[in-house]
Symmetry: D2
Subunit: 342 residues, 4 copies
C-alpha cells in the first residue's frame, strides 16, 4: 500500500533530502513538490543528483490539489508554515520541518522568534517531533513539529541523564561542531566556499541561538524546574553532521549506564562502549545517532558526545520516521540506509 505525500519547499536542502530518502522508501509516493521561486522547473534542474527519479514538476503551493494527499512535509523557511498549515484541509497530516511549531508556549515563541505566533491553536496541538521520546503522541498526531537539528543532537545526549537526575542541572555546557548544510541554501557571504573552507568559527554565542528555546522547554519540563544550558554551535568545513561535546558534572559510568539502558532497544540510537566517543563521519547520510561517554581525570566530571547527520536524523530522516508512525507504517521503513564513508 502506498501513501501519497507532498513536499512543500522542495528546493532547499531538507527538501532534497526528503526526496532522497523517499526515493527508496517502499510505501511513500511523492505526488506534489512546491518551490515558490523555482515553480515551473524540474527537480532535475534544481538538484541534478535526483535526475534518475520520476518526480512531479515544481509548482507553487496554490497549485497543489491536496484532496488526494495524505501527508505533507513542510520544509519551508521559518515563519511560513504557521499560516500555511492553518489553511490546509484538516484531512491532511503534516510534518513540519521548520521552527514554527516547536515551542508550545506562545510567549516563548515570541521571545525567541521576535513576533507573535500566527496560529496559536495549532501551536498547542502540535506534537514535538523527537521520535524516541514522543513516539505515542506522534503516532496519533495530525501535526508534528520537527525538532531543531542541534536540539535533537543534544537532547539525545542529555534527556535520559536529566530524567534520571544524574547530572548537575546548573552546569551543563554543550559545545557543538556543525556542518555547513545546516545553514540552508540561502545566500550569505560567510557561507561561500571560499569563506568557510578554511575557517572554524562559533556563532550565536552567549545564549542567543534559537534552539535554546527548545532546550529550555524540554529540559525544564523533564526536570520539573528551570534548566538553562550553555550552548555554542561552531561551523566546521564539512557538509553534513553535528557533533555535540557535552561537559557534565556526574559519574561517567552511571551516565553511560543510563544512556545504554535507555537506548538499548532504539533502532537508530547507538551507545558506544564506555570510554569511546564517536566522530561525525560515522553517521553521514543516515538516520543514526551515535553517543559516547568518557570520564574525565577529575572525578565527577564526564564528557558525553553525540553525533548525527543534521539533514537526515536531525531533520528529514526524523520527518520520515515520524511520518511512518503517523501513517501506521513500521517506524524504520525506508530509513535503514547505511552511513556513507569515506
Amino acid at each position: 500500500m502506498s501513501h501519497n505525500v507532498a513536499i512543500l519547499g522542495a528546493s532547499g536542502y531538507t527538501g532534497a533530502e526528503l526526496v532522497r530518502i523517499i526515493a527508496t522508501h517502499p510505501a511513500l509516493r511523492i505526488v506534489a513538490l512546491s518551490a515558490d521561486r523555482k515553480a515551473g522547473m524540474q527537480m532535475a534542474d534544481v538538484f541534478p543528483h535526483l535526475r534518475h527519479l520520476d518526480l512531479p514538476k515544481l509548482v507553487t503551493i496554490e497549485d497543489i490539489d491536496f484532496s488526494d494527499i495524505e501527508l505533507v512535509f513542510c520544509a519551508l523557511p521559518h515563519g511560513l508554515s504557521q499560516s500555511l498549515v492553518r489553511d490546509l484541509p484538516r484531512s491532511v497530516k503534516v510534518v513540519d520541518l521548520g521552527a514554527d511549531f516547536r515551542l508550545r508556549d506562545p510567549a516563548a515563541y515570541e521571545k525567541w522568534y521576535g513576533a507573535p505566533h500566527a496560529a496559536v491553536e495549532l501551536q498547542k496541538e502540535a506534537v514535538y517531533g523527537l521520535t524516541e521520546f514522543y513516539r505515542d503522541d506522534i503516532a496519533k498526531a495530525r501535526l508534528v513539529a520537527g525538532t531543531g537539528c542541534n536540539a535533537a543532537t543534544v537532547q539525545f545526549a542529555l534527556r535520559p541523564l536529566i530524567e534520571a537526575a544524574l547530572i548537575d542541572l546548573d552546569d551543563i555546557i554543550c559545545d557543538l561542531k556543525n556542518g555547513i548544510s545546516g545553514a540552508g541554501r540561502s545566500l550569505k557571504e560567510n557561507m561561500l566556499f571560499a569563506e568557510r573552507s578554511t575557517d572554524v568559527a562559533g556563532y550565536s554565542q552567549g545564549g542567543k541561538h534559537r534552539h535554546l528555546g527548545e532546550f529550555d522547554q524540554e529540559f525544564s519540563r523533564i526536570a520539573g524546574r528551570p534548566v538553562e544550558i550553555m550552548f555554542t554551535p561552531h561551523l566546521v568545513p564539512v557538509n553534513r553532521g553535528i557533533l555535540a561535546s557535552c561537559y557534565l558534572k556526574g559519574e561517567a559510568k552511571a551516565l553511560h549506564a543510563a544512556l545504554a539502558a535507555r537506548y538499548a532497544d532504539e533502532p537508530f540510537i547507538t551507545v558506544l562502549p564506555f570510554g569511546q566517543a564517536p566522530g561525525m563521519g560515522q553517521v553521514m547520510g543516515s538516520n543514526f545517532c551515535h553517543i559516547g561517554v568518557v570520564g574525565d581525570r577529575k572525578p565527577g566530571r564526564a564528557l558525553v558526545v553525540a553525533t548525527l547527520d543534521n539533514l537526515n536524523k536531525g531533520s528529514s530522516g526524523q520527518a520520515v520516521q515520524n511520518a511512518n508512525l503517523m501513517l501506521g507504517r513500521p517506524e524504520t521503513e525506508g530509513l535503514m540506509l547505511a552511513p556513507v564513508f569515506p
Copy 2:
C-alpha cells in the same frame, strides 16, 4: 530467497562500500568477512559507520568455510586474487574488484603489472565486468573481473562513439579529476589530509597509468585496430568521484545522439541534454553515471564529460550489479540508492 556471500578484503574502502550497499540489499546475506591484518576484529571497530549492522567478525581467508557460500567478492590489493581464486572451490562464483583479471592477454598483463600472471587459465576465463557492455557474458560467468574505476568512467563516455566510428581515434584526450578514496587506505605521505586538502595534482602522467592496459584492450577490440588514448588522472580534494573530460574530434551533436540512443534504456547511465555537462557531486554515493556533451567553438571538436562515484559505480556498485546478474537477481536490486547531496 537469500544468497550467501563473502567479502575478502573487507577492511579496505571497496570492502566497506560493498557492506554498505549490501546492508539494504534484499537478497544478499554476508556470511563471511576477511581481513588478514585485522582478523579477529569486529567491523564496527574497523569501520564505525557500519556499527548498526549485525556482521560476522573479520577472519583470515583460511578460516572461511566456503561450502555454503554462493559468491565471493574479492576486494584485495592487486596481485593477491590470482592464486587465491585459483584455489577456491569451483562451485563458488567470484566477482574480483582488483586488477588481476582485467586483461585477457598474458603479455599485456605482464607489461602493465610487471610480473607474469599466476593463473593464466583463469585469466582467459574471466569476463570483463563492464556490465552495460558484457551483460550476457557476465550472467553466465563464474569469474567476473571488475573494471578499473577510471576505465569504467572513460569507457562509458567513449565506447558508443568508437563503435559508431564517430570520432578520430588518433586524437582522444581524457583528462580526469579523481577523488582521493581511489587511492585506497594504504599509508602514503602524499595521501595525508594535510598534503591533499589544498592540492590538485596529476599522477602517472605520460601514459604510465595501468588503466591504459584496459583502454588499449577494449578500444582496440571495438575499433578493430590499435587505439591509444592520452589519459591523465588528477587528484582533487574530494573523497569520492571521478570526472572525465574527454576532448574529441567529431561532430558534437552526432556524439550526443549516439550516446543518448545507446543509453536510453540503461537504468544507471543518464545522458544530459545537449550542451550540459555533469558535476562530480551529482552522483556521490550512488551507482549512477552521468554523461554530457558540449560542442566547442571550433567546428568538429567536442567535449564529452562523464562522472561516477569511483567506490560505487566504479567499483563496489558495479560488483553488486554483476553479482545480481550472476545470481539471477534483477540487475538493479539494492542499487537504486539516490546520490547524496549536499
Copy 3:
C-alpha cells in the same frame, strides 16, 4: 622612499590580497581604500584577518583625494573601471585588475563582453600586464591591464612554445582546475560551501569563457596567424590555485628545453626537471608559477602543466609586480613571500 597608493574595490578578494601583500612591502603605503557598499566600515570588520594593520577606513571613490596618490589599483567588478579610469587625474598611474583593458581591439571587447567599450582611447593606451612578456612597456606605462588569472597560467605554459614554433597550433587543448576564490565574493547558490565542497565541475565549456578573448589576441599575435585553443576550466574545492594541463603536439624534450631557457632568469617562474609536473599546493599564497613537461607514450605528444595562485600571481601579485616596475622599484620587492604548505 615610500609611494602612496590607493585600492579601489578593497572589499573583494583581490583587494584583500593586495592589502596582504602590501602589508610587508617596504615601499608602498596604502592611503585610501574604497568599497561602495561597505563605505564607512573598517577593513578589520570586512576582513578580520587584516585586523593587525593600521589601514584607512573604507570610503566611496568620490571621497578619495587623488592629489597625493601616485598609483591606484582598481580591483573592481568588470565594466566599472573603464569610465572610472577615464575620470582619474592623468598624474595617477593605474593598475587595473579587472577585464576592462585586457583586449586591445574594441570589436573583440564587444564580442566577449557584450557591450561597446566606454573608453576606447584608454583601451588602446593600456599595456597588457603579463609582466614577464611586457616588462619594458609596463615600466613606461600609465595604465596597465592585469591579465585574467586563467590567461596568465596558460600563457606562461604556451607563449615560449608558440614563439619558437614548437607545437601544432591547431591542436592545443587546455584543461584547467580552478580554486573557488576565482569566482570572487559575489553571492551565487553554486558558490556556497555546501554546493562546492564535494563537487568538481566544468563551466563555460565549449569556447564560451571570456579569457578566450585574451588567448586569441595574444597567441595570434605571437604566431602571426589566427590561433584558437580549446580551453575548459573546472571548479575544484580548494580556495586558491589554478592548475593548467595543456595537451600538445610537439616533442616533449624540445618543449622543456624552450621553457627552461626562456624562464632561466625569471625570479617567479620555475621550470621543473623534465618528466615532473607541479601540484597546485606548491605555490599557494605566493607569486610563483611552476611549470612541468611530461612526454606521452605516444611520440610527438606532450603534457605541459603550469600552476599559480589565482589571487596572487594570477591577479594581485602580478599587480604589485607591475606597480613595482611602474614606480621604478625592484621588480621582486615585497613579492618573495614563500608559498604556504601545508
Copy 4:
C-alpha cells in the same frame, strides 16, 4: 648582520614552516638542514613549495659542523631532542620545538611521557617558550622549550584571567578545534584525507592529552595552588589552526577588560571588541593570535575564544620570535606576514 642557523628535523611540517618564515627574515641564514631518513635529498624534492629558495641539502645530524652555527632549531619528534641537545657544543643556542623540555619537573615529565628524562640538568635550565610571558628569561636563555600548540592557545586565553583571579579555577572547560597539520607528517590511517575530510572527532578525551602537563605546571604556578582544567581537542578538516572555546565562571566584561589591558602592547595578540569571537580562518599562515570574550545569558558565565595557527604562532613562528630575542634582534623581525584569506 646575519645569524647562521640550522634546522634539525627539516622534513616535517614545523621544519618546513621554519624555512618558510626564515625565507623572508632579513637576519637569519639557514646553513644546515637535517632529516635522517631523507638525508641526501634536496628540500625542493621533499617540499616542492620551497623550490625557489637556495637551501643546503638535507644531511644527517652527524654531518653538521656546528662550529659556525649560532642557533639551532630542533623540530624533531618527541624524545629525540634531550640527548641530542646534551651533546651540542655549549656555544650553540637552542630553540626546541618538541616536548622534551616543556616540563620542569622530572616526575611530571615521566608521568606524561612515560619514561624518565635523559637530560635532567638541561630540563631544569630550559626556559618555557611562551614568549609573551617569559620574554626576559628567553632573551637570556641558551635553551628555550617551545610550548605545545594547544598549550599556547589556551594559555593566551587564560593566563591573565588566572593571574587576576577573575575566574573559578575549579570549573575551566576548554574545547578545542584543531587543524590536521598538528598531527605532523607521520603515517596513520586516521590521518588520510579520505578518513578526515568529512569527519570531526575528539581525541585524547578525558584528561589524557600530554599538553595537560603544561597546563597543570603553568596554571598551578600562577594560581599558587593546583589547577586542573578540562581540555578536549577535536580534529576538524582544515590544515592549520586551533580554535579554543573556553567556558568559564566569571564576569565577562571583567575578563575582557583584563585581557585587553594585558595584551594592549603585544604586537601579535589582539583582543576583539567585547561580544565578538574570532574564527580560525583569520590568522592562517601568520604569527597572530586573536582572542574574543562573549558573555552568556547566564550571569557570571563567559566564553573566551582564542585562535592561532598551530604551525606558526603555535610552533615555528613562536620559535623564530624566541630566536629573535635570543639573538638580540627585534622581536617581530620577519614575523609580520599577514594571514592568508581566503
